[in-house]
């Protein structure tokens, strides 16, 4: 098993001194390449904080995060940004699309950071939209799309750069059951096609059922034993 992410004695606290709040305490976790992990736990257990640390959005207060052989905690802001751009795709609960851009332009946004020319960027963006089944909605603005369609665009945006890791923060939290199932099926399908590693925060046991493994967080610690779903 090739380890993609390794968390060692990871801590995260906010504030300092007596008012410090420890959100995550001594987290140890390994995620294999191509694995699909669901992070579950009650509200305030630190799921999103952990997800942000894994995705390089936030920095730990202590411990180590390794991506393949690379330590993330030592990277500068700019280097961490480049790392995210090269290796990570994000899918958010509220989609977080840029409302003034079309679906196609939204998907193109991550590629604007690369050296690709415009025609190649558009070609790859159309391919990604096609993969999520929205090629016919390429010129629609987000407000002209349903919630499920917007999340598909967000997934296309997340995968267009060919990331190794897909970070999904409650991707089905704002969707009805039918749309949620479609999105989860799509994520599972993408993993099969691209071999991408998925780390997903969810409250939904049905969503967690799509994962290979469920990691339950409780009060900032991984609640042992880790549940293995499949």
């Amino acid at each position: 098993m090739n380890v993609l992410i390794e968390l060692s004695q990871l801590n995260k606290s906010y504030g300092s001194g007596e008012t410090a709040v420890n959100v995550l305490k001594d987290i140890n976790l390994r995620v294999a390449e191509g694995e699909f992990i669901a992070l579950m736990g009650p509200s305030g257990s630190g799921k999103t904080t952990l997800l942000n640390l894994i995705g390089g959005i936030d920095r730990p207060s202590g411990g180590r995060i390794r991506f393949r052989a690379q330590s993330l905690e030592a990277l500068s802001d700019a280097a961490l940004g480049r790392w995210r751009s090269a290796h990570v795709g994000f899918v958010f609960q509220s989609y977080n699309l840029l409302p003034s851009l079309s679906a196609l332009a939204n998907v193109e946004v991550p590629l604007m950071l690369t050296a690709l020319n415009r025609s190649e960027r558009l070609r790859r963006s159309r391919t990604a939209l096609d993969l999520v089944g929205l090629s016919e909605r390429a010129n629609h603005k987000p407000r002209q799309l349903s919630g499920g369609q917007q999340q598909r665009v967000a997934i296309a945006r997340a995968i267009v750069g060919g990331p190794s890791l897909l970070i999904c923060d409650e991707p089905t939290g704002n969707l009805d059951r039918e749309a949620a199932d479609e999105i989860l099926a799509l994520l599972a399908e993408l993993r099969g096609v691209n071999g991408v590693t998925l780390v997903m925060v969810t409250h939904d046991p049905k969503a967690a059922a799509y994962a290979d493994r469920v990691v339950v967080l409780d009060k900032g610690s991984v609640d042992e034993p880790v549940l293995r779903v499949a």
């Binding site: 003034s100 332009a105 991550p110």
Partner: protein
């Protein structure tokens, strides 16, 4: 990366159409104000490059509005260093309707007032031979539908002729336009002969508004000015001699220090512009914190996000500048066409446009920097949490 920033920032300003429109309208109005004030300033304030430094203007020591006797001509002409002396008086005249007013400049013969005007030699000679001749600026002729050869009756304010009336009949000898920007100010006035008006009066006044003195080559304007004032010092009409530029400046100051007032309004407008744009942008940046955090998560750097905000500010203001420029151009054209004022209508030249536009855009960048700093300081994790 810059092009990406520009592309993404241009996608934003008009997302909220009402807010975008109001911001652009505010900037446009400020720009119109700045442009108009700049133009008015340019019209009244003689620039360093404008003519007038080598011409002396002789007026009454007591007030620039007090007339001087034409007899002073010979006294002034005898002063060493003086090459030519001309004189002129200004009148307010009315054509047909009381509201249709125009400025009549009664000039001496010979005169230098015809220099820089598009008049042929024949027309200039004709003016010296025709006592009731009148030369009219193009704008004035166009506004009144006047043609060369036409006889026009003008009622002259404060003028009483031998019949006890205030109306005089003039024959249009030529229609001109100024050949330089400075002379274009004459395009909506009319020139008549001073001697004709003086002799048509019921009682000859023999009074002139001012004398214009051309100097010999190498003559010192200061020395000649002092000599003229010394020569008239013990007369009933002591004079004050200064360069034409200085006279314009003193007139300018007499208008309640209009220059200072204009500067104050300009500064206030600039502050308004900065505050409106900065306030609008900081609100917008706050509302878009999730978008900025998303872009940061995707890999965009703090500096790219900050640049986007500045480009957005500049883009929004640039739109306002273009709209303002079009508005002011239209406004000037309307004023030219309507002749609502007795004074030359200000023309905003390209120089004024360029200076105001560059200044405005620089201010837009400054205003944008407040929002840019706010966006650059954004905490990604906190901002993304807001979206949920």
């Amino acid at each position: 990366m810059t092009m990406v920033s520009i592309y993404l920032s241009y996608a934003k300003p008009f997302r909220n159409r009402l807010r975008g429109f109001l911001t652009v309208a505010t900037v446009a109005m400020v720009f119109v104000l700045l442009g108009l004030l700049g133009a008015v300033y340019q019209v009244f304030h003689p620039s360093a490059g404008s003519s007038g430094a080598d011409i002396l203007a002789v007026t009454s020591r007591y007030s620039t509005q007090s007339p001087l006797p034409v007899a002073l001509h010979d006294t002034i002409a005898k002063v060493p260093g003086v090459r030519n002396v001309y004189y002129q008086s200004g009148y307010l005249a009315v054509y047909q309707q009381p509201t249709n007013q125009l400025i009549l400049a009664a000039v001496s013969l010979p005169t230098d007032a015809l220099q820089g005007l598009s008049l042929s030699n024949d027309q200039q000679i004709n003016f010296t031979r025709t006592r009731d001749g009148i030369l009219v600026g193009e704008q004035l002729a166009e506004h009144n539908g006047w043609k060369v050869g036409q006889q026009i009756p003008l009622r002259i304010t404060g003028f009483v002729n031998k019949e006890g009336g205030d109306s005089e009949l003039f024959e249009i000898l030529g229609i001109y336009h100024g050949l330089t920007a400075d002379r274009a100010k004459f395009d909506n006035i009319a020139l008549v002969r001073w001697d004709y008006l003086n002799e048509s009066r019921a009682v000859r006044s023999d009074a002139v508004g001012l004398f214009k003195v051309r100097l010999e080559t190498g003559a010192s304007p200061d020395a000649v000015s002092q000599a003229i004032d010394r020569a008239t010092a013990n007369s009933d009409h002591p004079t004050r001699t200064q360069t034409a530029q200085a006279l314009l400046l003193s007139l300018f100051r007499q208008m309640g220090d209009l220059s200072g007032a204009i500067r104050m309004v300009v500064i206030a407008s600039i502050f308004t512009l900065v505050l409106v744009t900065a306030t609008s942008l900081t609100h917008a940046v706050r509302r878009r914190s999730v978008e900025h955090a998303t872009l940061r998560a995707i890999g965009y750097t703090r500096s790219t996000i900050a640049r986007m905000v500045i480009y957005e500010s500049v883009g929004q203001v640039a739109t306002g500048v273009v709209v303002g420029a079009l508005l002011i151009a239209g406004l000037c054209r309307c004023l030219h066409a309507s002749h609502v004022s007795n004074f030359p209508v200000p023309v905003v030249n390209l120089g004024t446009f360029a200076v105001v536009a560059c200044g405005t855009l620089a201010l837009a960048a400054l205003a944008g920097s407040f929002g840019a700093a706010q966006a650059a300081r954004l905490n990604m994790a906190s901002a993304l949490k807001q979206a949920q």
